[in-house]
Symmetry: C2
Subunit: 385 residues, 2 copies
């Protein structure tokens, strides 16, 4: 596992080496989804307020699921986003989305179970599923990166415990439209009847608030009963290092109460114990807030139009802060290496189980984007865009 | 697993129910190791300073192992405590000790491996080992709760990957003396030669700074090469809800570099990703600091002498904030229920794999201890201390 470790982190580390050699100013690093946009001012005020109110003693244990008040406030927002009414008892605060996904998978999976996801996808999913004795099974997506519901259905068998989707998507920026999600819900009902077990739909939604051009990010809970939504505050509030997120279970899911209790137990025994106390109190005060998405939209538009003018083939991302173009020449590894010679770092598509593409994380300063364009131009020219 | 869930958390929840019924003032809850002592003033200053210096942008990802500066400062303290010199590259910042233990176990264990620990012990260990495909094997300790090295040796076989110790101990308050740890080290060398594999010694040390009467807490790294020390800032800085701790690997351990890399990878793929950023920056500034242990020593002395005067049999704890007396009448569950009728909550010894005892967590206000004494007296009288 250490040898096949994440391409994303590997490129991030290659970046550190390049910066040491050539100077930080000369390297353009698009490898990691580490937002450069400042958290909103309201976050900083809320954090200050929480720190000052932490005397007396507010850093102690609370129920493993989190502070009841935080859970209630999260439930109110989840209800608005998902189109059904849930209360705090269906929310578990987590150590980011990755902590929440692990807790949910621990609660859902029996050894040998399978989780179906789409290609391309964030490959840490495979580790998260493997952590709990399961196996990730991948299905292709459509050419425009929308879900291919028939392909997903073909991967579902008696061992399938869950389908895992991610919209807005990392790495493609695709937002799955309501129509596709409706087809997915129908298919899951049908497949569940066929296999004789409930198939949970897990939605990883850390980029929900980073959607452009007023495109709707439909909530899955209104569409499919056996739904679990996981998210974090890492991307939309620029807090990835603080490890705060949450899991919400649809009250309409089979065994919803037992599933929530399982997620709470998993939160404890997986060693998270609870989401960090200070951040739980802080995010409770600013539910629904996010950074200004126009900042990212502007970067997206600049980058996409520049790349297109050089001959790059890409689908315009609708959300998140990634672009996933075809690699000029077709070999993503060769392209990434060529680009690295120009001191520009991106992640090869094989890091998302889709060779032949590459991922740009454009959550960086616009000046870096502008500085990188010459490198993109040269690499495309060398490999034939 | 949900049905046999932690007795500690179960009693904590019983306490919440009793408080709702009888009023919080009337319930004396000694079930949870949730410190009531305020974090030191220097912690609050450091936290304020960190929050103010977090602009611009200091909540982002950092290397999964943590901030290099934090790791260096931790390494300096670990070197002093453990009696060998280590640097920051051997430290991984973790989400509390439970996160650190899970990362270390994930890195060390292959499926079917065993970890040997002593009775009584914190039973979440069994879950942490099980999470990674291992099994916890228990050996008795001596009557005075010191390690029984011969008993540990008898539990070691070809599947043994590690021995896990905890000193100062939860639930007994025992500190293992240097002589016993030396015997343990000799035994592990011998047993490792016998089984043909390195047996790692994992020391869970969240109570290291909570030692009374100037009793030494010996460092294991100076005694045994294949050592891993895990700790948290939860108990000694009263920060259990903030989820901050660290893992340190002895540079003398077999495959030390690979083990550290494995722990870093485990930190990532188990979904912790990194220890919370704000707390990493804060604890870096106050390495070595703890609450005033005299506060706990005073409570210990008051409680132990009162219980003894009522006929309770107990070994005076040398550290941590727990007392582990024999249950009057011999049946810990019957005793705990009787005590609960007096609105006093403790955890039965079976929650630590040692029926016939019970655990008091005395990290509460002295007034609560004083208020509880009549209940302890009545329960002992009813069951025959």
């Amino acid at each position: 596992m250490m040898e096949t470790s994440s391409w994303i982190r590997r490129m991030f580390e290659a970046g550190a080496a390049l910066r040491a050699e050539h100077g930080a100013d000369r390297v353009c690093d698009f490898s990691l989804g580490n937002p450069d946009v400042e958290p909103p001012a309201a976050f900083q005020s809320a954090l200050r307020e929480v720190v000052e109110s932490c005397i007396p003693l507010k850093h102690g244990y609370m129920p493993n699921a989190g502070y009841p008040e935080t859970r209630e406030r999260v439930a109110a927002l989840v209800s608005r986003e998902q189109g059904i009414s849930i209360d705090g008892s269906h929310v578990v605060m987590s150590c980011g989305a990755s902590g929440g996904l692990n807790s949910a998978l621990k609660a859902i999976l029996d050894p040998g179970d399978e989780v179906v996801a789409t290609i391309p996808c964030f490959m840490e999913y495979a580790s998260y599923v493997d952590n709990h004795g399961g196996a990730l099974v991948l299905a292709p997506s459509r050419a425009d990166f929308d879900l291919d519901v028939a392909a997903l259905e073909s991967r579902i068998g008696p061992r399938t415990a869950a389908v895992l989707i991610n919209s807005p998507n990392n790495p493609t920026g695709r937002i799955y439209p309501r129509r596709t999600l409706g087809q997915l819900a129908d298919m899951l009902e049908r497949a569940g009847r066929r296999t004789g077990r409930t198939i949970y739909l897990l939605a990883d939604e850390p980029y929900r608030k980073l959607a452009y051009d007023e495109i709707e990010v439909p909530g899955i809970m209104g569409l499919y009963p056996h739904s679990v939504v996981v998210t974090s505050y890492s991307k939309d509030l620029s807090l990835p290092g603080e490890r705060i997120g949450h899991v919400a279970v649809s009250p309409q899911a089979d065994d919803a109460r037992r599933l929530v209790d399982g997620i709470i137990l998993a939160t404890r025994i997986l060693g998270y114990v609870n989401a960090p106390a200070l951040m739980q109190r802080t995010v409770a005060k600013i539910q629904g807030l996010s950074v200004d998405v126009e900042i990212y939209r502007t970067k997206r538009d600049l980058f996409c139009s520049a790349l297109r003018s050089m001959g790059y083939q890409l689908t315009t991302p609708q959300g998140a802060f990634y672009i996933f173009p075809r690699a000029p020449g077709g070999d993503d590894l060769a392209f990434v290496r060529t680009l690295q010679e120009e001191l520009v770092l991106v992640v090869p598509g094989r890091g998302f189980s889709l060779p032949g593409f590459f991922r740009i994380a454009y959550c960086v300063d616009t000046a870096i984007i502008e500085r990188s364009l010459e490198g993109f131009r040269k690499a495309a020219a060398r490999l034939g865009a």
